[in-house]
């Protein structure tokens, strides 16, 4: 009979609690076979058998707290042949790794917490310190994206002559290879559009304060949007019958005067707060002129009283003045109606914006050749597209239509 005492499970702990027995009385056990699990202050650990033999008696049951070095298991050791000598028994009770070879005693678990996995298996391994190797010249260098492209196009990267940076195969190389080695054809899909150069005069991505005419535009357009009930009417004037040498702008101005003779309500000021309207006899025509600094709107005074030559010289003068920025505020004060001749660049119809207290603005688009039905047949006539916006708070649709009809009638006269 041998008694196995609870060994010191580490860090000088005084006791351990039995969690569960893995053997029962009468069992034959081998060396290192787990006898029971005990819980110390730190972890649950298995306690292995120090000897081979038959379990005679278990001291304690699950949940019992066993002081270190007190009796745990009694063994019947067979034949006494492997019965440990006294010294070894002491070693078994206080495990040490230096136990003599072949003596079946408990191994030191080698840790105070947990369970360090242990084995006597000898592992052979090779560990090479690699010397610098010669680079394989056949090695392909390519970006992962190029490799994916080659995979998608079914191209073998190794077969391609690299032309990219650092001797890499480029995406173009892959596409060329896929095109069957015809470089010119493969280059067909242009990578860049043929676009005009970036504007050098524009500051991209920078918030700039609005100045001068642009500030004025902001004020007048905001006022218009908040006050005027705008309605726009579109039509065309057929100028097929014009005699040669007609001045288009002068003809349009004359037509506006004609319209205002027929329906003077469009040549007026309207005060929405007082609900008052003032119809003017004189036609002080504001001309919207586009400049690099913004919209400038000088005025041709009393156009109803002028002839073609006078109007042309007035037009040239204000054109020059806007170019020089020499238009005075007085030149832009109190127009009675506005003309926006926007069609010089592009655009057919528009919805021009009425600037109060005016009540109407005429927009003229670009002159163009239109297919028109003429007496059951088709002809191509030159026409001027017209857009008249009026303030519907004080002008009826009928008035505006009649005004536009009078404008068209005058424009369609041969001279």
């Amino acid at each position: 009979m041998r008694t196995f005492n609870l060994p010191d499970l580490g860090e000088g702990l005084q006791e351990a609690e039995i969690v569960s027995w893995h053997v029962k009385e009468g069992d034959i056990v081998k060396v290192d076979q787990p006898l029971l699990s005990v819980e110390t202050a730190k972890a649950v650990v298995d306690v292995p058998s120090p000897w081979a033999g038959k379990i005679a008696k278990l001291h304690g049951k699950n949940g019992d707290i066993i002081p270190t070095h007190s009796a745990l298991v009694d063994f019947d050791i067979e034949g006494g042949a492997t019965a440990p000598a006294k010294k070894e028994e002491a070693a078994a009770q206080k495990p040490a790794p230096d136990a003599k070879k072949g003596t079946p005693i408990a191994e030191d678990s080698g840790t105070v917490v947990g369970n360090v996995p242990t084995s006597n298996a000898v592992v052979a391994e090779t560990a090479i310190i690699r010397k610098k190797q010669k680079k394989d010249p056949a090695r392909v260098k390519a970006l992962p994206s190029v490799r994916i492209l080659a995979k998608q196009l079914g191209v073998d990267l190794a077969s391609i002559e690299p032309t990219g940076k650092n001797d890499t195969v480029s995406a173009d190389d892959v596409r060329r290879a896929q095109g069957g080695g015809a470089p010119a054809a493969a280059e067909a899909p242009a990578t860049r559009w043929d676009l005009p150069a970036k504007r050098a005069d524009v500051k991209y991505g920078v918030a700039e304060p609005m100045r001068g005419p642009r500030r004025a535009m902001h004020a007048s357009m905001t006022k218009s949007r908040s006050e005027v009930a705008e309605c726009t009417l579109f039509d065309d004037a057929d100028i097929h019958n014009w005699q040669p040498g007609q001045d288009v702008t002068v003809r349009i101005i004359r037509a506006i005067v004609a319209g205002c003779r027929a329906e003077p309500e469009l040549n007026a000021w309207y005060d929405g707060e007082k609900l008052e309207r003032t119809i003017h006899e004189r036609v002080d025509l504001a001309m919207a002129v586009d400049t690099p600094d913004g919209l400038i709107v000088p005025i041709l005074r009393k156009v109803e009283s002028k002839n073609a030559q006078q109007l042309r010289s007035d037009l040239n003068r204000i054109k020059e003045a806007t170019r020089n920025r020499s238009v005075s505020p007085a030149d832009m004060k109190d127009p009675t109606i506005t003309l926006s001749n926007f069609g010089m660049m592009a655009g057919r119809y528009a919805t021009p914006v009425v600037v109060p207290p005016q009540v109407a603005i005429l927009g003229t688009g670009g002159l163009r050749y239109d297919v028109v039905p003429v007496m059951g047949g088709i002809e191509v006539h030159k026409r001027i597209p017209l857009s008249i916006t009026f303030d519907h708070r004080c002008i009826t649709g009928g008035t505006a239509c009649r005004w536009l009809a009078a404008v068209i009638k005058d424009l369609e006269r041969p001279h």
Binding site: V113, G114, T118, S119, V122, K132, Q133
Partner: protein, 325 residues
């Protein structure tokens, strides 16, 4: 030639150096009478005396601080921290003094010390006993960080660490301490620091690992080898500074890289390896770089630690993903 476990190889290396060089001393909690919590200093006090194998109070900052002081004055201390989770009080000493004294004194003082600590999980230990904090040390300038993955590398690299004129943090994978044995000759031959070891040569994919995960990585490589997939398996060994020459050369050959580490993924050493390979070998990459790592959580308590640590299956899955990309 002796067949020894990793922990025995570590004891052997320390004993060899203590025998040869009287300036080598060992200190730490329970390293003397008790032989160390993992028995790494077993028998050293009996053999070399209490003057050279010193039990210290339970004070990690003191252990590191005393070692730094001794090292600057001509000793070669080997300090033991019981568990990597208790290393943090010593980190201040390591960052602010061990790693900087050479710079601070313009080379007048240097710190030839080794800070040994067990590292990693897998032994069913409680909290604080299973940390993988090598990335933290790898990030500190002036300190070498070394993690052996076998008895022979533990022996050779620890010798090199003791002999190195500058501080080395030597992190020993607890799980490998007694996992198996290898024939290690106690011949005092050091292995080179700052050098990777190629454990298996292959053509299809480069696997880089260190510490205990080398074990799973080798098993994964062996399994894939049965399918005809050949892996170049690299043991990083010195975690900082990294031997990028070996890694880059391998990646240029295979075109694919999988990094395997037990530590959390976020800002792990794997991230540094992946970044450098992306910088220097992107033209050779055939697939995105893969990482198989622990999760970004504290190491779980022992019932779940095997779900946390990359298993052979997880490593194989990670390799396949990169092979199929």
């Amino acid at each position: 030639m002796a067949k020894v476990t990793m922990v025995e190889a570590i004891t052997m290396a320390m004993a060899h150096e203590m025998e040869k060089d009287p300036s080598v001393v060992v200190l730490g909690e329970d390293v003397g009478l008790n032989g160390g919590v993992f028995r790494a200093t077993q028998g050293l006090q009996q053999r070399f005396g209490k003057e050279r194998v010193m039990d210290t109070p339970l004070a990690e900052a003191l252990i590191a601080g005393i070692s730094i002081g001794m090292a600057t004055q001509g000793m070669k201390p080997i300090a033991e921290i019981q568990f990597s989770g208790f290393i943090y009080p010593a980190v201040d000493q390591m960052i602010n003094h061990a790693g900087r004294l050479r710079t601070r004194t313009r080379g007048r003082l240097h710190v030839p010390m080794v800070l040994r600590a067990p590292s990693g999980g897998g032994i069913h230990a409680p909290e604080h006993h299973s940390e993988s904090n090598e990335a933290m040390f790898a990030h500190m300038p002036g300190i070498r960080t070394v993690m052996p993955s076998s008895p022979s590398r533990a022996y050779g690299l620890l010798l090199a660490a003791i002999r190195d004129p500058d501080p080395v943090v030597f992190l020993e994978p607890t799980r490998l301490y007694r996992l198996n044995k290898a024939e290690v000759e106690d011949d005092g031959k050091a292995l080179p620091l700052d050098t990777c070891f190629v454990l298996r040569e292959g053509e299809d994919v480069t696997l880089v690992s260190w510490g205990a995960m080398v074990h799973e990585t080798l098993q994964a490589a062996a399994k894939l080898g049965e399918e005809g997939i050949s892996c170049d398996v690299i043991d990083l060994a010195t975690v900082a500074p990294i031997d990028f020459d070996t890694i880059l050369e391998s990646v240029e050959k295979t075109g694919r890289l999988v990094i395997i580490h037990e530590a959390p993924r976020n800002c792990g050493v794997g991230a540094e390896i992946a970044a450098t390979v992306a910088e220097k070998a992107i033209y050779s990459l055939k697939a995105p770089i893969g990482r198989v790592t622990g999760y970004d959580i504290p190491m779980p308590l022992f019932k779940l630690e095997h779900d946390y640590m990359p298993s052979v299956e997880r490593v194989i899955k990670g390799i396949r993903k990169v092979l199929e990309a």
